[in-house]
Structure formats: structure tokens, C-alpha cells
């Protein structure tokens, strides 16, 4: 019976049968994602716990900030995931507007709350770090303010995508909001280079010149991969339930129509 519920396609098949429609079809996504979910969940928990336990109990304390620097093992991964999450939201919105793809709409709807959660963790952990080191929970410098804007963009998207009786209207409006808000991403990334900020500059650089000791870098990277996978697990779980919810509603409506 479950097979019957899951198998039919919710999306109208793309006329051209392009790769996009073949692999991003909600029914096929469900069949691929559901068996992968337990693995995703297991790896995200193992990596996150390893990274944080290593960082908090085994990595050396910082020469300048002492044990307070250990907040980075939560703060930095949360910050990276909140930005990557928004980038994913923007990509979904792009697919939603150009290809009107139903899976992109559903994904955008489910990414919003998860991304907002990670941004909230980033803001709170940053405030708890700022008080003992800077002497202030919050300052209005370019990095902090642009991340707060990111949080509000997430909240606006969450509200807008659910604000219409006609769901399609909500998807269109929220996709435009998400795409316009994407200009904030480079601002967050480069804020510490373009303007004077109280927030520190970049420690890790992909082009070389990192300034972090190796046994502090490893737990940070492991925790980051863990956080990314947590994000992926949460979004995939929510997406699977959203697809099934839609399918159930469609089946119930069809049954009611047959009965009438």
C-alpha cells in the first residue's frame, strides 16, 4: 500500500523529459532519499559529536583567548551552514522561477526554518563569545549586522511562502524575496575585508595563509562537516514528509470526490 502512495508522480512529467525532471521528480526523490536518511542522520550525529567533543575537551586552548575560543567549534560551523543554507534556498528559488519545478518549491519551503535555526545558533553563540572577549554582546558592525539581516531574510521567507491561500502565489513571491536577498551573501563574506569591523578577519583561507593550529583546525572542520550533514538530514526529512503530506492530501481529496 505504501508503495502505491509513494510511487505515483506528483509532478507533471516534463515535456522534454530532461535530466532535471527525471532526477528532481518528487516521487523519485522520495524513493532515493528515504533509504539514505538513516545513514545521513547517523553520520551527522557522529561527526558533530566528534568535532565538538574534540574541540571542547581535547583541542588546546588558544594563546590569546584561552578557553573562550572553544565557542568557535559551534559558532563557525553554524555560520557556514547558515550561509550555505541560504545559497541553497536561492538556487531552489531560481529553479522555481525559471522551471516552475514543484520539488524546488517544496525544498525552499523546508530549507527556511532549518536555515533560520542555524543562523540563530550562530548569532547566540557569537553574542556569548563577544561578551567575554570584546566586552559586548552585540555591536552594529558590518559582519554582525549583515548576519542579522540574513536571519530576518530567513524569517521573511518563512512567513511569505506560507502567507497565500494559493500556494503557487506564495512560492513565486518567496522565491523573488530569496533571490533578491542573495546579494547579502557576498556582503557577509567580504564584510570583514571591505570595512573596519570589531569582528575578526578570516582565519581560514582556501588560497593559503590560514592562521589556525592544526589540532584546532581538525575538530573545527569535522564539526563543520557534521553541521552541514545535520542541515541536509533535517531538510531531507522535512522534504520527505512534505511530499507525503501532499500526496496524502491529494489521495484524500480524490477519495472524497469519488464518494460525492
Amino acid at each position: 500500500m505504501t508503495e502505491n502512495i509513494l510511487a505515483p508522480e506528483i509532478a507533471p512529467r516534463g515535456a522534454t523529459g530532461s535530466w532535471l525532471h527525471r532526477y528532481a521528480n518528487p516521487g523519485r526523490f522520495l524513493r532515493l532519499a528515504q533509504p539514505a536518511l538513516p545513514w545521513l542522520a547517523a553520520f551527522s550525529i557522529i561527526l558533530t559529536v566528534t568535532g565538538i567533543v574534540w574541540g571542547y575537551f581535547f583541542a588546546p586552548a588558544d594563546w590569546e583567548q584561552g578557553n573562550a575560543a572553544r565557542i568557535m567549534y559551534v559558532h563557525v560551523p553554524a555560520a557556514w551552514v547558515s550561509m550555505a543554507g541560504y545559497a541553497a534556498l536561492a538556487v531552489c528559488s531560481f529553479f522555481s522561477i525559471v522551471w516552475r519545478h514543484p520539488l524546488a518549491d517544496l525544498a525552499a519551503e523546508e530549507i527556511g526554518p532549518v536555515g533560520a535555526g542555524f543562523t540563530f545558533v550562530c548569532l547566540i553563540s557569537g553574542a556569548l563569545w563577544g561578551k567575554p572577549m570584546w566586552g559586548a554582546y552585540w555591536v552594529w558592525d558590518a559582519r554582525l549586522t549583515s548576519v542579522l539581516v540574513l536571519f530576518f531574510l530567513y524569517l521573511g521567507h518563512i512567513a511569505l511562502i506560507r502567507a497565500f491561500d494559493n500556494r503557487e502565489h506564495g512560492y513565486r513571491a518567496a522565491a523573488i524575496l530569496a533571490l533578491v536577498g542573495a546579494v547579502n551573501l557576498p556582503i557577509i563574506v567580504f564584510s570583514v575585508q571591505w570595512w573596519n569591523t570589531l569582528h575578526q578577519g578570516n582565519t581560514i583561507s582556501l588560497t593559503g595563509g590560514s592562521k589556525i593550529y592544526i589540532t584546532m583546525l581538525y575538530p573545527l572542520l569535522i564539526a563543520s562537516v557534521g553541521f552541514y550533514m545535520c542541515f541536509l538530514t533535517l531538510v531531507t526529512t522535512r522534504l520527505c514528509s512534505a511530499i507525503m503530506e501532499r500526496k496524502t492530501r491529494a489521495l484524500l481529496l480524490a477519495a472524497a470526490e469519488r464518494a460525492a
Partner: protein
């Protein structure tokens, strides 16, 4: 791709370019207000009126910190520098733990008529290099880096330095 999808794609790209350049232009125009603090050189060039609040940022100049305690309240005099200019700062109160010579700080306050900066609040701006205390001492003793004078060399040059103890 159908013509309608192609049209939406081009429309979206055009909107993206428009929104992007509008944002870039606004940010460039408001750059001076987006910056969190002014360096000593900018302060000397702008010459803000005495009593007007602003944030002064820079490095605590080595050898200029002088603290006097009267009635249990410390008053600290030091100079903030950006390497080229420096401004004398007076602050009454308890400084943040990270305050030291060579430390980046941001002071909130205003200029006095005497050309000093009178700070009502001092924030410490910690660096962006993370390493154990042992490694920092090792670098300092070997003359490769002194935290008083700028950021350390690339981590690849000190990642193999041994750590004697874990934790604090």
C-alpha cells in the same frame, strides 16, 4: 528549454544584474557609515568636533600604557595607532581582559578640546590567529613572530611545532 523558460531565465539574470549593481553602488556610497570605527589617520584628516561621539579603532601602541588608580578606579592613558598616526586616549574604568600592548581595540567616545580622545567604553578586538600558548611562546622566543607587531606567519610554518600540554 522552451521559449517561456528561456524568457524567464533571461529576465531573472537581468534582474539579478540590476539588483546586484544597485546594491554595490549603494554600499560604495555609504561605505563611510558602514565602517565600524575610524583609524587615527582618518580621525586626524576629518578632525571631528570636540564632544562629537565616534569610534576610534587601532592598535594599542607599545610602551604607551599608563594606569593610575585613584579612589579604587583605574584611569588608563595610552595611544592608539595605525602604524602611521597615533592619538592619545584616556579611559576611566576596567579594561577588557584582552587589553594589552599591541592589541587591536575600539574605543567609543569623543575628542576633547585638548586633542585627546576621551573614551567612555573600550572594546577589545581579538586577532584572527588561533594557536596553543606553547606555540605562541615558541614563535616569540625564536623571533619568528611577536604578537605586539601584527599577525603571525602562515600556519603551515608552525603547524609542526609540538604542544607540551593540552587544555589551559
Amino acid at each position: 528549454m522552451t521559449p517561456r523558460k528561456k524568457r524567464r531565465l533571461y529576465l531573472l539574470l537581468a534582474c539579478g544584474i540590476a539588483v546586484g549593481s544597485a546594491t554595490a553602488l549603494s554600499l560604495a556610497a555609504f561605505s563611510s557609515t558602514l565602517t565600524f570605527f575610524l583609524g587615527p589617520r582618518e580621525v586626524l584628516a576629518k578632525d571631528p568636533a570636540p564632544g562629537m561621539d565616534f569610534r576610534l579603532g587601532g592598535i594599542v601602541q607599545v610602551g604607551t600604557v599608563n594606569t593610575v588608580v585613584s579612589n579604587g578606579t583605574p584611569t588608563t592613558n595610552f595611544r592608539v595607532t595605525d602604524g602611521q598616526a597615533s592619538i592619545p586616549v584616556t579611559f576611566t574604568g576596567v579594561l577588557p581582559d584582552l587589553f594589552r600592548e599591541g592589541q587591536g581595540i575600539v574605543a567609543i567616545g569623543s575628542m576633547t578640546s585638548g586633542g585627546d580622545f576621551s573614551a567612555s567604553e573600550v572594546l577589545a578586538k581579538h586577532g584572527s590567529s588561533y594557536m596553543p600558548k606553547d606555540v605562541e611562546e615558541n614563535l616569540k622566543n625564536s623571533g619568528k613572530w611577536n604578537p605586539k607587531f601584527g599577525p603571525p606567519p602562515d600556519a603551515s610554518t608552525w603547524n609542526d611545532m609540538a604542544v607540551k600540554s593540552n587544555g589551559s
